[in-house]
Point group: C2
Chain length 320, copies 2
Protein backbone atom coordinates (compact mmCIF):
# COMPACT_ATOMS: atom_id res chain seq x y z
CA UNK A 1 0.00 0.00 0.00
CA UNK A 2 2.96 2.32 -0.63
CA UNK A 3 0.77 4.60 -2.75
CA UNK A 4 -1.10 5.53 0.37
CA UNK A 5 1.80 5.64 2.75
CA UNK A 6 1.61 9.34 3.57
CA UNK A 7 -2.12 9.07 4.31
CA UNK A 8 -1.72 5.92 6.37
CA UNK A 9 1.08 7.53 8.35
CA UNK A 10 -1.12 10.54 9.03
CA UNK A 11 -3.96 8.26 10.15
CA UNK A 12 -1.65 6.27 12.43
CA UNK A 13 -0.24 9.48 13.89
CA UNK A 14 -3.68 10.88 14.50
CA UNK A 15 -4.83 7.68 16.20
CA UNK A 16 -1.63 7.41 18.22
CA UNK A 17 -1.87 10.97 19.50
CA UNK A 18 -5.56 10.74 20.37
CA UNK A 19 -5.58 11.32 24.10
CA UNK A 20 -7.69 9.19 26.38
CA UNK A 21 -7.91 9.83 30.11
CA UNK A 22 -5.00 8.22 32.00
CA UNK A 23 -7.23 6.73 34.67
CA UNK A 24 -8.83 4.35 35.42
CA UNK A 25 -6.10 2.24 33.83
CA UNK A 26 -8.39 -0.80 33.68
CA UNK A 27 -10.65 1.18 31.38
CA UNK A 28 -8.12 2.98 29.19
CA UNK A 29 -5.13 0.62 29.01
CA UNK A 30 -7.28 -1.86 27.05
CA UNK A 31 -8.34 0.89 24.64
CA UNK A 32 -4.77 2.10 24.12
CA UNK A 33 -3.61 -1.52 23.72
CA UNK A 34 -6.27 -2.44 21.19
CA UNK A 35 -6.01 0.73 19.11
CA UNK A 36 -2.25 0.15 18.86
CA UNK A 37 -2.66 -3.44 17.60
CA UNK A 38 -2.70 -2.05 14.07
CA UNK A 39 -4.81 -3.32 11.23
CA UNK A 40 -5.20 -2.15 7.65
CA UNK A 41 -6.93 1.13 8.63
CA UNK A 42 -8.99 0.63 5.49
CA UNK A 43 -12.02 2.58 6.74
CA UNK A 44 -10.19 5.80 7.64
CA UNK A 45 -8.21 5.49 4.40
CA UNK A 46 -11.46 5.44 2.41
CA UNK A 47 -12.75 8.52 4.25
CA UNK A 48 -9.54 10.40 3.54
CA UNK A 49 -9.43 9.39 -0.15
CA UNK A 50 -13.14 10.12 -0.66
CA UNK A 51 -12.72 13.58 0.83
CA UNK A 52 -9.75 14.22 -1.47
CA UNK A 53 -11.97 13.49 -4.48
CA UNK A 54 -13.86 16.67 -3.58
CA UNK A 55 -10.89 18.80 -2.60
CA UNK A 56 -10.73 17.77 1.05
CA UNK A 57 -7.57 18.01 3.12
CA UNK A 58 -6.15 15.48 5.54
CA UNK A 59 -6.46 17.97 8.38
CA UNK A 60 -10.18 18.17 7.87
CA UNK A 61 -10.90 14.51 7.23
CA UNK A 62 -8.77 12.91 9.95
CA UNK A 63 -11.19 13.28 12.91
CA UNK A 64 -14.05 11.68 10.93
CA UNK A 65 -11.69 8.98 9.64
CA UNK A 66 -10.46 8.28 13.16
CA UNK A 67 -14.02 8.09 14.52
CA UNK A 68 -14.73 5.22 12.14
CA UNK A 69 -11.56 3.36 13.06
CA UNK A 70 -12.41 3.78 16.74
CA UNK A 71 -15.95 2.57 16.16
CA UNK A 72 -14.65 -0.41 14.17
CA UNK A 73 -12.28 -1.32 17.00
CA UNK A 74 -15.10 -1.12 19.55
CA UNK A 75 -17.02 -3.68 17.47
CA UNK A 76 -13.98 -5.95 17.38
CA UNK A 77 -13.53 -5.82 21.18
CA UNK A 78 -17.16 -6.81 21.76
CA UNK A 79 -17.25 -9.36 18.90
CA UNK A 80 -14.17 -11.04 20.36
CA UNK A 81 -16.01 -11.56 23.66
CA UNK A 82 -19.05 -12.99 21.85
CA UNK A 83 -16.91 -15.29 19.70
CA UNK A 84 -14.70 -16.29 22.64
CA UNK A 85 -11.74 -15.39 20.42
CA UNK A 86 -8.40 -15.70 22.24
CA UNK A 87 -6.31 -13.76 19.71
CA UNK A 88 -6.60 -10.70 17.52
CA UNK A 89 -3.71 -9.90 15.18
CA UNK A 90 -1.71 -12.62 16.94
CA UNK A 91 -2.00 -10.97 20.34
CA UNK A 92 -4.40 -11.67 23.20
CA UNK A 93 -7.87 -10.13 22.88
CA UNK A 94 -8.98 -7.66 25.56
CA UNK A 95 -11.19 -10.15 27.42
CA UNK A 96 -8.28 -12.63 27.44
CA UNK A 97 -5.61 -10.15 28.55
CA UNK A 98 -7.91 -8.50 31.13
CA UNK A 99 -11.40 -9.99 31.54
CA UNK A 100 -14.87 -9.89 30.01
CA UNK A 101 -16.18 -7.11 32.26
CA UNK A 102 -13.27 -4.89 31.32
CA UNK A 103 -13.74 -5.76 27.65
CA UNK A 104 -17.45 -4.86 27.80
CA UNK A 105 -16.81 -1.55 29.53
CA UNK A 106 -13.75 -0.45 27.55
CA UNK A 107 -15.64 -1.31 24.36
CA UNK A 108 -18.54 0.86 25.54
CA UNK A 109 -16.20 3.75 26.29
CA UNK A 110 -14.41 3.42 22.94
CA UNK A 111 -17.74 3.58 21.11
CA UNK A 112 -18.63 6.80 22.92
CA UNK A 113 -15.20 8.29 22.18
CA UNK A 114 -15.81 7.46 18.50
CA UNK A 115 -19.07 9.43 18.47
CA UNK A 116 -17.41 12.20 20.48
CA UNK A 117 -14.61 12.52 17.93
CA UNK A 118 -17.15 13.89 15.44
CA UNK A 119 -17.73 16.95 17.60
CA UNK A 120 -14.58 18.38 15.99
CA UNK A 121 -16.92 19.55 13.22
CA UNK A 122 -19.35 22.46 13.17
CA UNK A 123 -22.96 21.69 14.06
CA UNK A 124 -24.41 20.91 10.61
CA UNK A 125 -21.55 18.66 9.55
CA UNK A 126 -21.54 17.09 13.02
CA UNK A 127 -25.22 16.26 12.69
CA UNK A 128 -24.91 14.86 9.17
CA UNK A 129 -21.94 12.65 10.12
CA UNK A 130 -23.49 11.57 13.44
CA UNK A 131 -26.81 10.67 11.85
CA UNK A 132 -25.16 8.44 9.27
CA UNK A 133 -22.88 6.87 11.87
CA UNK A 134 -25.81 6.18 14.21
CA UNK A 135 -27.79 4.51 11.42
CA UNK A 136 -24.73 2.53 10.36
CA UNK A 137 -23.84 1.51 13.93
CA UNK A 138 -27.31 0.11 14.49
CA UNK A 139 -27.03 -1.83 11.23
CA UNK A 140 -23.68 -3.25 12.34
CA UNK A 141 -25.30 -4.50 15.58
CA UNK A 142 -28.15 -6.04 13.58
CA UNK A 143 -25.63 -7.74 11.27
CA UNK A 144 -23.70 -9.12 14.21
CA UNK A 145 -26.93 -10.47 15.76
CA UNK A 146 -27.86 -12.11 12.45
CA UNK A 147 -24.43 -13.73 12.33
CA UNK A 148 -24.90 -15.06 15.89
CA UNK A 149 -28.39 -16.29 14.98
CA UNK A 150 -27.04 -18.13 11.91
CA UNK A 151 -24.98 -20.39 14.18
CA UNK A 152 -28.07 -22.21 15.40
CA UNK A 153 -29.96 -22.14 12.09
CA UNK A 154 -30.05 -25.23 9.87
CA UNK A 155 -30.63 -23.36 6.63
CA UNK A 156 -29.55 -19.84 5.72
CA UNK A 157 -30.63 -18.47 2.35
CA UNK A 158 -28.28 -16.59 0.03
CA UNK A 159 -30.37 -13.45 0.51
CA UNK A 160 -30.12 -13.73 4.29
CA UNK A 161 -26.39 -14.29 4.07
CA UNK A 162 -25.79 -11.34 1.75
CA UNK A 163 -27.92 -9.10 3.96
CA UNK A 164 -25.95 -10.21 7.02
CA UNK A 165 -22.54 -9.37 5.51
CA UNK A 166 -23.91 -6.13 4.08
CA UNK A 167 -24.93 -5.04 7.58
CA UNK A 168 -22.12 -6.55 9.61
CA UNK A 169 -19.21 -5.33 7.50
CA UNK A 170 -20.19 -3.42 4.37
CA UNK A 171 -22.31 -0.53 5.59
CA UNK A 172 -19.38 0.76 7.65
CA UNK A 173 -17.27 0.91 4.49
CA UNK A 174 -20.16 2.68 2.78
CA UNK A 175 -20.30 5.11 5.69
CA UNK A 176 -16.52 5.65 5.51
CA UNK A 177 -16.74 6.64 1.84
CA UNK A 178 -19.86 8.76 2.31
CA UNK A 179 -18.12 10.61 5.16
CA UNK A 180 -15.63 12.04 2.65
CA UNK A 181 -18.47 13.44 0.57
CA UNK A 182 -20.36 14.81 3.57
CA UNK A 183 -17.23 16.54 4.85
CA UNK A 184 -16.78 18.28 1.51
CA UNK A 185 -20.49 19.04 1.15
CA UNK A 186 -20.78 17.42 -2.26
CA UNK A 187 -24.17 16.59 -3.86
CA UNK A 188 -26.57 14.03 -2.38
CA UNK A 189 -26.13 11.99 -5.54
CA UNK A 190 -22.34 11.90 -5.10
CA UNK A 191 -22.68 10.97 -1.42
CA UNK A 192 -25.03 8.19 -2.42
CA UNK A 193 -22.57 6.88 -5.04
CA UNK A 194 -19.74 7.02 -2.50
CA UNK A 195 -21.87 5.05 -0.03
CA UNK A 196 -22.82 2.39 -2.62
CA UNK A 197 -19.21 2.20 -3.78
CA UNK A 198 -18.05 1.32 -0.26
CA UNK A 199 -20.99 -0.92 0.49
CA UNK A 200 -20.64 -3.01 -2.68
CA UNK A 201 -16.88 -3.16 -2.21
CA UNK A 202 -17.45 -4.48 1.30
CA UNK A 203 -19.77 -7.23 0.10
CA UNK A 204 -17.39 -8.27 -2.67
CA UNK A 205 -14.51 -8.19 -0.20
CA UNK A 206 -16.33 -10.42 2.28
CA UNK A 207 -17.27 -12.97 -0.39
CA UNK A 208 -13.64 -13.00 -1.48
CA UNK A 209 -12.68 -13.64 2.13
CA UNK A 210 -15.07 -16.59 2.25
CA UNK A 211 -13.58 -18.00 -0.95
CA UNK A 212 -9.99 -17.49 0.21
CA UNK A 213 -10.72 -19.20 3.50
CA UNK A 214 -11.49 -22.39 1.56
CA UNK A 215 -9.58 -22.07 -1.71
CA UNK A 216 -6.77 -19.65 -0.91
CA UNK A 217 -3.12 -20.61 -0.59
CA UNK A 218 -2.03 -20.82 3.02
CA UNK A 219 1.21 -18.92 2.42
CA UNK A 220 -0.45 -16.16 0.41
CA UNK A 221 -3.51 -15.69 2.62
CA UNK A 222 -1.34 -15.84 5.72
CA UNK A 223 -3.61 -18.01 7.81
CA UNK A 224 -4.70 -21.61 8.03
CA UNK A 225 -7.11 -22.62 5.28
CA UNK A 226 -10.42 -24.34 5.91
CA UNK A 227 -11.40 -22.80 9.25
CA UNK A 228 -14.89 -21.92 7.99
CA UNK A 229 -15.39 -25.45 6.64
CA UNK A 230 -14.29 -27.05 9.90
CA UNK A 231 -16.69 -24.93 11.97
CA UNK A 232 -19.58 -25.34 9.45
CA UNK A 233 -19.75 -21.57 9.18
CA UNK A 234 -22.65 -20.29 7.08
CA UNK A 235 -20.61 -18.60 4.36
CA UNK A 236 -21.76 -17.95 0.81
CA UNK A 237 -20.04 -21.21 -0.19
CA UNK A 238 -22.01 -23.12 2.44
CA UNK A 239 -25.41 -21.62 1.60
CA UNK A 240 -24.80 -22.07 -2.14
CA UNK A 241 -23.91 -25.71 -1.60
CA UNK A 242 -27.04 -26.30 0.47
CA UNK A 243 -29.07 -24.78 -2.33
CA UNK A 244 -27.42 -26.64 -5.23
CA UNK A 245 -26.48 -30.04 -3.82
CA UNK A 246 -28.45 -33.22 -4.43
CA UNK A 247 -29.56 -35.30 -1.46
CA UNK A 248 -26.66 -37.67 -2.16
CA UNK A 249 -24.18 -34.80 -2.05
CA UNK A 250 -25.74 -33.45 1.14
CA UNK A 251 -25.43 -36.89 2.73
CA UNK A 252 -21.77 -37.02 1.67
CA UNK A 253 -21.32 -33.55 3.29
CA UNK A 254 -22.75 -34.84 6.55
CA UNK A 255 -20.55 -37.96 6.45
CA UNK A 256 -17.47 -35.81 6.02
CA UNK A 257 -18.20 -34.09 9.33
CA UNK A 258 -17.28 -37.32 11.08
CA UNK A 259 -13.86 -37.65 9.40
CA UNK A 260 -10.49 -36.06 10.24
CA UNK A 261 -10.18 -32.28 9.83
CA UNK A 262 -7.92 -32.66 6.79
CA UNK A 263 -10.29 -35.12 5.13
CA UNK A 264 -13.29 -32.92 5.92
CA UNK A 265 -11.68 -29.84 4.36
CA UNK A 266 -10.52 -31.65 1.20
CA UNK A 267 -13.77 -33.59 0.83
CA UNK A 268 -16.01 -30.55 1.20
CA UNK A 269 -13.85 -28.48 -1.16
CA UNK A 270 -14.26 -31.26 -3.74
CA UNK A 271 -18.04 -31.20 -3.18
CA UNK A 272 -18.01 -27.41 -3.69
CA UNK A 273 -16.19 -27.91 -7.00
CA UNK A 274 -18.50 -30.74 -8.07
CA UNK A 275 -21.54 -28.53 -7.45
CA UNK A 276 -19.91 -25.53 -9.13
CA UNK A 277 -20.18 -23.63 -5.88
CA UNK A 278 -16.86 -21.86 -6.39
CA UNK A 279 -17.78 -20.59 -9.85
CA UNK A 280 -21.13 -19.41 -8.64
CA UNK A 281 -19.66 -17.51 -5.68
CA UNK A 282 -17.05 -15.89 -7.91
CA UNK A 283 -19.87 -14.72 -10.18
CA UNK A 284 -21.79 -13.23 -7.25
CA UNK A 285 -18.63 -11.53 -6.08
CA UNK A 286 -17.94 -10.19 -9.59
CA UNK A 287 -21.44 -8.76 -9.69
CA UNK A 288 -20.72 -6.70 -6.57
CA UNK A 289 -17.32 -5.57 -7.91
CA UNK A 290 -19.16 -4.36 -10.99
CA UNK A 291 -21.65 -2.36 -8.96
CA UNK A 292 -18.81 -0.95 -6.92
CA UNK A 293 -16.99 0.21 -10.06
CA UNK A 294 -20.14 1.62 -11.62
CA UNK A 295 -20.71 3.80 -8.57
CA UNK A 296 -17.13 5.01 -8.79
CA UNK A 297 -17.59 5.89 -12.47
CA UNK A 298 -20.84 7.73 -11.74
CA UNK A 299 -19.17 10.07 -9.25
CA UNK A 300 -19.08 13.61 -10.59
CA UNK A 301 -15.80 15.14 -9.53
CA UNK A 302 -13.00 17.16 -11.08
CA UNK A 303 -10.33 15.26 -9.21
CA UNK A 304 -8.82 12.09 -10.72
CA UNK A 305 -10.20 8.87 -9.28
CA UNK A 306 -6.91 7.02 -9.72
CA UNK A 307 -6.18 6.45 -6.06
CA UNK A 308 -9.55 4.85 -5.35
CA UNK A 309 -9.25 2.77 -8.53
CA UNK A 310 -5.80 1.61 -7.49
CA UNK A 311 -7.04 0.72 -4.04
CA UNK A 312 -9.89 -1.22 -5.62
CA UNK A 313 -7.44 -3.11 -7.83
CA UNK A 314 -5.18 -3.80 -4.92
CA UNK A 315 -8.07 -5.23 -2.91
CA UNK A 316 -9.51 -7.19 -5.85
CA UNK A 317 -6.23 -8.91 -6.65
CA UNK A 318 -5.47 -10.48 -3.33
CA UNK A 319 -3.94 -13.79 -4.36
CA UNK A 320 -5.75 -17.06 -4.37
CA UNK B 1 -45.47 11.07 42.75
CA UNK B 2 -49.04 12.08 41.85
CA UNK B 3 -47.92 15.69 41.29
CA UNK B 4 -45.97 14.53 38.28
CA UNK B 5 -48.45 12.01 36.99
CA UNK B 6 -49.24 13.77 33.72
CA UNK B 7 -45.54 14.15 32.91
CA UNK B 8 -44.74 10.58 33.91
CA UNK B 9 -47.58 9.31 31.76
CA UNK B 10 -46.30 11.32 28.82
CA UNK B 11 -42.80 9.93 29.38
CA UNK B 12 -44.09 6.35 29.60
CA UNK B 13 -46.15 6.84 26.46
CA UNK B 14 -43.23 8.27 24.58
CA UNK B 15 -40.98 5.40 25.63
CA UNK B 16 -43.67 2.81 24.88
CA UNK B 17 -44.29 4.15 21.40
CA UNK B 18 -40.62 4.47 20.49
CA UNK B 19 -40.27 2.10 17.55
CA UNK B 20 -37.35 -0.26 17.33
CA UNK B 21 -36.86 -2.52 14.32
CA UNK B 22 -38.89 -5.74 14.61
CA UNK B 23 -35.98 -7.95 13.61
CA UNK B 24 -33.69 -9.53 14.66
CA UNK B 25 -35.89 -10.46 17.62
CA UNK B 26 -32.84 -11.56 19.64
CA UNK B 27 -31.56 -7.99 19.45
CA UNK B 28 -34.78 -6.02 19.93
CA UNK B 29 -36.95 -8.22 22.15
CA UNK B 30 -34.46 -7.69 25.01
CA UNK B 31 -34.57 -3.92 24.47
CA UNK B 32 -38.39 -3.84 24.40
CA UNK B 33 -38.48 -6.13 27.47
CA UNK B 34 -36.03 -4.07 29.49
CA UNK B 35 -37.47 -0.66 28.60
CA UNK B 36 -40.89 -1.94 29.70
CA UNK B 37 -39.62 -3.11 33.10
CA UNK B 38 -40.45 0.30 34.45
CA UNK B 39 -38.44 2.25 36.98
CA UNK B 40 -38.89 5.68 38.47
CA UNK B 41 -38.08 7.49 35.20
CA UNK B 42 -36.41 10.09 37.40
CA UNK B 43 -33.94 11.26 34.75
CA UNK B 44 -36.49 12.06 32.03
CA UNK B 45 -38.71 13.65 34.68
CA UNK B 46 -35.88 16.02 35.62
CA UNK B 47 -35.32 16.96 31.98
CA UNK B 48 -39.00 17.70 31.50
CA UNK B 49 -39.29 19.75 34.72
CA UNK B 50 -36.06 21.65 34.03
CA UNK B 51 -37.26 22.56 30.56
CA UNK B 52 -40.57 23.78 32.04
CA UNK B 53 -38.66 26.19 34.28
CA UNK B 54 -37.67 28.02 31.12
CA UNK B 55 -40.96 27.77 29.28
CA UNK B 56 -40.35 24.42 27.60
CA UNK B 57 -43.14 22.13 26.46
CA UNK B 58 -43.42 18.39 26.90
CA UNK B 59 -43.48 17.91 23.13
CA UNK B 60 -40.09 19.52 22.82
CA UNK B 61 -38.42 17.95 25.84
CA UNK B 62 -39.61 14.33 25.47
CA UNK B 63 -37.03 13.11 22.90
CA UNK B 64 -34.12 14.41 25.02
CA UNK B 65 -35.75 13.01 28.16
CA UNK B 66 -36.23 9.63 26.47
CA UNK B 67 -32.63 9.57 25.24
CA UNK B 68 -31.44 9.75 28.85
CA UNK B 69 -33.77 6.99 30.00
CA UNK B 70 -32.59 4.80 27.12
CA UNK B 71 -28.96 5.53 27.93
CA UNK B 72 -29.60 4.77 31.60
CA UNK B 73 -31.20 1.43 30.69
CA UNK B 74 -28.26 0.53 28.46
CA UNK B 75 -25.96 1.02 31.48
CA UNK B 76 -28.20 -1.21 33.59
CA UNK B 77 -28.16 -4.03 31.01
CA UNK B 78 -24.36 -4.00 30.86
CA UNK B 79 -23.91 -3.46 34.63
CA UNK B 80 -26.14 -6.46 35.28
CA UNK B 81 -23.79 -8.65 33.21
CA UNK B 82 -20.75 -7.32 35.08
CA UNK B 83 -22.40 -7.80 38.47
CA UNK B 84 -23.79 -11.21 37.52
CA UNK B 85 -27.16 -9.89 38.74
CA UNK B 86 -29.99 -12.40 38.19
CA UNK B 87 -32.87 -9.96 38.76
CA UNK B 88 -33.80 -6.38 37.95
CA UNK B 89 -37.07 -5.02 39.31
CA UNK B 90 -37.92 -8.58 40.38
CA UNK B 91 -37.69 -9.95 36.86
CA UNK B 92 -34.84 -11.78 35.12
CA UNK B 93 -32.04 -9.59 33.75
CA UNK B 94 -31.35 -9.69 30.01
CA UNK B 95 -28.28 -11.93 30.30
CA UNK B 96 -30.33 -14.33 32.45
CA UNK B 97 -33.42 -14.40 30.27
CA UNK B 98 -31.39 -14.60 27.04
CA UNK B 99 -27.59 -14.80 27.39
CA UNK B 100 -24.52 -12.59 27.87
CA UNK B 101 -23.80 -12.13 24.18
CA UNK B 102 -27.33 -10.94 23.56
CA UNK B 103 -27.11 -8.65 26.60
CA UNK B 104 -23.85 -7.11 25.35
CA UNK B 105 -25.19 -6.53 21.86
CA UNK B 106 -28.68 -5.30 22.78
CA UNK B 107 -27.04 -2.95 25.29
CA UNK B 108 -24.78 -1.61 22.55
CA UNK B 109 -27.75 -1.08 20.24
CA UNK B 110 -29.77 0.64 22.96
CA UNK B 111 -26.92 3.06 23.63
CA UNK B 112 -26.77 3.98 19.95
CA UNK B 113 -30.55 4.44 19.82
CA UNK B 114 -30.22 6.80 22.80
CA UNK B 115 -27.70 8.99 20.95
CA UNK B 116 -29.81 8.75 17.80
CA UNK B 117 -32.90 9.99 19.64
CA UNK B 118 -31.22 13.39 19.97
CA UNK B 119 -31.28 13.87 16.20
CA UNK B 120 -34.89 15.01 16.67
CA UNK B 121 -33.39 18.44 17.37
CA UNK B 122 -31.93 20.97 14.95
CA UNK B 123 -28.18 20.92 14.43
CA UNK B 124 -27.04 23.39 17.13
CA UNK B 125 -29.23 21.93 19.87
CA UNK B 126 -28.32 18.42 18.68
CA UNK B 127 -24.64 19.22 19.03
CA UNK B 128 -24.99 20.83 22.45
CA UNK B 129 -27.03 17.91 23.82
CA UNK B 130 -24.82 15.28 22.18
CA UNK B 131 -21.61 16.86 23.46
CA UNK B 132 -22.87 16.88 27.05
CA UNK B 133 -24.23 13.34 26.76
CA UNK B 134 -20.94 12.06 25.29
CA UNK B 135 -18.95 13.66 28.12
CA UNK B 136 -21.41 12.31 30.68
CA UNK B 137 -21.48 8.82 29.16
CA UNK B 138 -17.72 8.55 29.34
CA UNK B 139 -17.83 9.65 32.98
CA UNK B 140 -20.45 6.98 33.72
CA UNK B 141 -18.12 4.32 32.24
CA UNK B 142 -15.24 5.67 34.33
CA UNK B 143 -17.43 5.56 37.46
CA UNK B 144 -18.48 1.99 36.75
CA UNK B 145 -14.82 0.97 36.27
CA UNK B 146 -13.88 2.66 39.57
CA UNK B 147 -16.68 0.74 41.29
CA UNK B 148 -15.38 -2.54 39.81
CA UNK B 149 -11.84 -1.62 40.86
CA UNK B 150 -12.97 -0.90 44.43
CA UNK B 151 -13.98 -4.56 44.85
CA UNK B 152 -10.36 -5.67 44.95
CA UNK B 153 -9.00 -2.66 46.87
CA UNK B 154 -8.31 -2.90 50.58
CA UNK B 155 -8.73 0.78 51.30
CA UNK B 156 -10.91 3.31 49.50
CA UNK B 157 -10.74 6.93 50.60
CA UNK B 158 -13.81 9.09 51.10
CA UNK B 159 -12.70 11.28 48.21
CA UNK B 160 -12.36 8.28 45.91
CA UNK B 161 -15.76 7.02 46.98
CA UNK B 162 -17.48 10.34 46.44
CA UNK B 163 -15.85 10.73 43.03
CA UNK B 164 -16.98 7.23 42.07
CA UNK B 165 -20.65 7.86 42.91
CA UNK B 166 -20.48 11.30 41.32
CA UNK B 167 -19.38 9.72 38.05
CA UNK B 168 -21.33 6.49 38.17
CA UNK B 169 -24.71 7.92 39.07
CA UNK B 170 -24.76 11.68 39.64
CA UNK B 171 -23.43 13.19 36.43
CA UNK B 172 -26.31 11.62 34.49
CA UNK B 173 -28.78 13.41 36.79
CA UNK B 174 -26.77 16.61 36.25
CA UNK B 175 -26.97 16.01 32.51
CA UNK B 176 -30.73 15.37 32.73
CA UNK B 177 -31.30 18.73 34.44
CA UNK B 178 -28.89 20.60 32.16
CA UNK B 179 -30.71 19.16 29.12
CA UNK B 180 -33.82 21.14 30.08
CA UNK B 181 -31.81 24.36 30.09
CA UNK B 182 -30.02 23.55 26.83
CA UNK B 183 -33.34 22.79 25.12
CA UNK B 184 -34.70 26.17 26.15
CA UNK B 185 -31.46 27.98 25.34
CA UNK B 186 -31.16 29.55 28.77
CA UNK B 187 -27.92 31.19 29.99
CA UNK B 188 -24.71 29.24 30.57
CA UNK B 189 -24.94 30.16 34.23
CA UNK B 190 -28.44 28.68 34.50
CA UNK B 191 -27.37 25.51 32.66
CA UNK B 192 -24.46 25.22 35.06
CA UNK B 193 -26.75 25.60 38.10
CA UNK B 194 -29.14 23.00 36.66
CA UNK B 195 -26.23 20.62 36.18
CA UNK B 196 -24.91 21.12 39.72
CA UNK B 197 -28.42 20.80 41.13
CA UNK B 198 -28.79 17.36 39.55
CA UNK B 199 -25.25 16.29 40.30
CA UNK B 200 -25.40 17.22 44.00
CA UNK B 201 -28.86 15.69 44.30
CA UNK B 202 -27.46 12.47 42.84
CA UNK B 203 -24.62 12.34 45.34
CA UNK B 204 -26.95 13.03 48.29
CA UNK B 205 -29.37 10.44 46.97
CA UNK B 206 -26.67 7.77 46.68
CA UNK B 207 -25.37 8.45 50.20
CA UNK B 208 -28.93 8.19 51.45
CA UNK B 209 -29.18 4.85 49.65
CA UNK B 210 -26.03 3.65 51.42
CA UNK B 211 -27.45 4.71 54.79
CA UNK B 212 -30.85 3.13 54.14
CA UNK B 213 -29.23 -0.14 53.09
CA UNK B 214 -27.80 -0.44 56.62
CA UNK B 215 -30.13 1.61 58.82
CA UNK B 216 -33.42 1.69 56.90
CA UNK B 217 -36.53 -0.19 57.91
CA UNK B 218 -37.07 -3.29 55.82
CA UNK B 219 -40.76 -2.64 55.25
CA UNK B 220 -40.28 1.01 54.35
CA UNK B 221 -37.21 0.57 52.11
CA UNK B 222 -38.82 -2.43 50.45
CA UNK B 223 -35.78 -4.64 50.32
CA UNK B 224 -33.63 -6.70 52.66
CA UNK B 225 -31.43 -4.60 54.91
CA UNK B 226 -27.70 -5.13 55.31
CA UNK B 227 -26.79 -6.36 51.82
CA UNK B 228 -23.92 -3.88 51.52
CA UNK B 229 -22.56 -4.91 54.94
CA UNK B 230 -22.71 -8.61 54.09
CA UNK B 231 -20.82 -8.12 50.82
CA UNK B 232 -18.28 -5.69 52.40
CA UNK B 233 -19.26 -3.13 49.79
CA UNK B 234 -17.17 0.03 49.86
CA UNK B 235 -19.93 2.48 50.72
CA UNK B 236 -19.48 5.83 52.46
CA UNK B 237 -20.29 4.05 55.75
CA UNK B 238 -17.53 1.53 55.12
CA UNK B 239 -14.86 4.06 54.11
CA UNK B 240 -15.78 6.34 57.02
CA UNK B 241 -15.50 3.46 59.45
CA UNK B 242 -12.09 2.47 58.06
CA UNK B 243 -10.96 6.04 58.55
CA UNK B 244 -12.36 6.55 62.08
CA UNK B 245 -12.05 3.16 63.75
CA UNK B 246 -9.33 2.21 66.21
CA UNK B 247 -7.29 -0.91 65.59
CA UNK B 248 -9.41 -2.71 68.19
CA UNK B 249 -12.60 -1.75 66.37
CA UNK B 250 -11.13 -2.80 63.03
CA UNK B 251 -10.19 -6.15 64.53
CA UNK B 252 -13.74 -6.53 65.81
CA UNK B 253 -14.99 -5.71 62.30
CA UNK B 254 -12.83 -8.49 60.87
CA UNK B 255 -14.00 -10.97 63.50
CA UNK B 256 -17.62 -10.20 62.64
CA UNK B 257 -17.01 -11.38 59.08
CA UNK B 258 -16.69 -14.90 60.41
CA UNK B 259 -20.05 -14.87 62.24
CA UNK B 260 -23.59 -15.49 60.98
CA UNK B 261 -25.07 -12.96 58.52
CA UNK B 262 -27.47 -11.63 61.14
CA UNK B 263 -24.71 -11.22 63.73
CA UNK B 264 -22.44 -9.57 61.17
CA UNK B 265 -25.08 -7.01 60.19
CA UNK B 266 -26.05 -6.15 63.77
CA UNK B 267 -22.44 -6.12 64.99
CA UNK B 268 -21.17 -3.87 62.22
CA UNK B 269 -24.13 -1.50 62.57
CA UNK B 270 -23.25 -1.19 66.25
CA UNK B 271 -19.63 -0.47 65.34
CA UNK B 272 -20.85 2.22 62.90
CA UNK B 273 -22.84 3.80 65.72
CA UNK B 274 -19.95 3.54 68.18
CA UNK B 275 -17.65 5.32 65.74
CA UNK B 276 -20.28 7.93 64.88
CA UNK B 277 -20.19 6.78 61.28
CA UNK B 278 -23.90 7.28 60.78
CA UNK B 279 -23.86 10.87 62.04
CA UNK B 280 -20.86 11.67 59.89
CA UNK B 281 -22.45 10.23 56.75
CA UNK B 282 -25.68 12.11 57.42
CA UNK B 283 -23.65 15.31 57.69
CA UNK B 284 -21.90 14.63 54.37
CA UNK B 285 -25.25 13.89 52.78
CA UNK B 286 -26.74 17.08 54.24
CA UNK B 287 -23.87 19.06 52.78
CA UNK B 288 -24.74 17.81 49.28
CA UNK B 289 -28.47 18.51 49.82
CA UNK B 290 -27.49 22.05 50.76
CA UNK B 291 -25.46 22.52 47.59
CA UNK B 292 -28.29 21.05 45.58
CA UNK B 293 -30.77 23.53 47.06
CA UNK B 294 -28.38 26.45 46.65
CA UNK B 295 -28.11 25.75 42.95
CA UNK B 296 -31.87 25.59 42.69
CA UNK B 297 -32.16 28.96 44.43
CA UNK B 298 -29.53 30.50 42.18
CA UNK B 299 -31.48 29.66 39.04
CA UNK B 300 -32.76 32.80 37.35
CA UNK B 301 -36.19 32.02 35.97
CA UNK B 302 -39.63 33.57 35.88
CA UNK B 303 -41.36 30.23 36.37
CA UNK B 304 -42.08 28.93 39.88
CA UNK B 305 -39.63 26.30 41.09
CA UNK B 306 -42.27 24.52 43.16
CA UNK B 307 -42.29 21.28 41.23
CA UNK B 308 -38.56 20.77 41.48
CA UNK B 309 -38.65 21.73 45.16
CA UNK B 310 -41.45 19.24 45.77
CA UNK B 311 -39.55 16.53 43.97
CA UNK B 312 -36.50 17.33 46.06
CA UNK B 313 -38.55 17.05 49.24
CA UNK B 314 -40.09 13.83 48.11
CA UNK B 315 -36.68 12.33 47.43
CA UNK B 316 -35.15 13.70 50.63
CA UNK B 317 -37.85 12.28 52.85
CA UNK B 318 -37.66 8.65 51.94
CA UNK B 319 -38.27 6.95 55.25
CA UNK B 320 -35.61 5.46 57.44
Amino acid sequence: MTLYESRLTAIENYLATTEYPKEPSNLYDPIRYFMALGGKRIRPLFTVLSAELFGGTLDNSLPAAAALEMFHNFTLIHDDIMDGAPKRRNLPTVHEKWNSNIAILSGDALMIHAFQELSNYEANTFKALSSLLHKTSIEVCIGQQMDLDFESMEVVSEAQYLEMIRLKTSVLLGCACAFGGILEKTSTSNIDHLYRFGEQLGIAFQIQDDILDAFGSETKVGKQIGGDILSDKKTLLYTTFQHRASSVEKARHQQLSKTSPEEKIQGIKQLYLDCEVLDYCKAVQENHWQKCQENLSDLETNEPKDLLKELLNFINHRNY
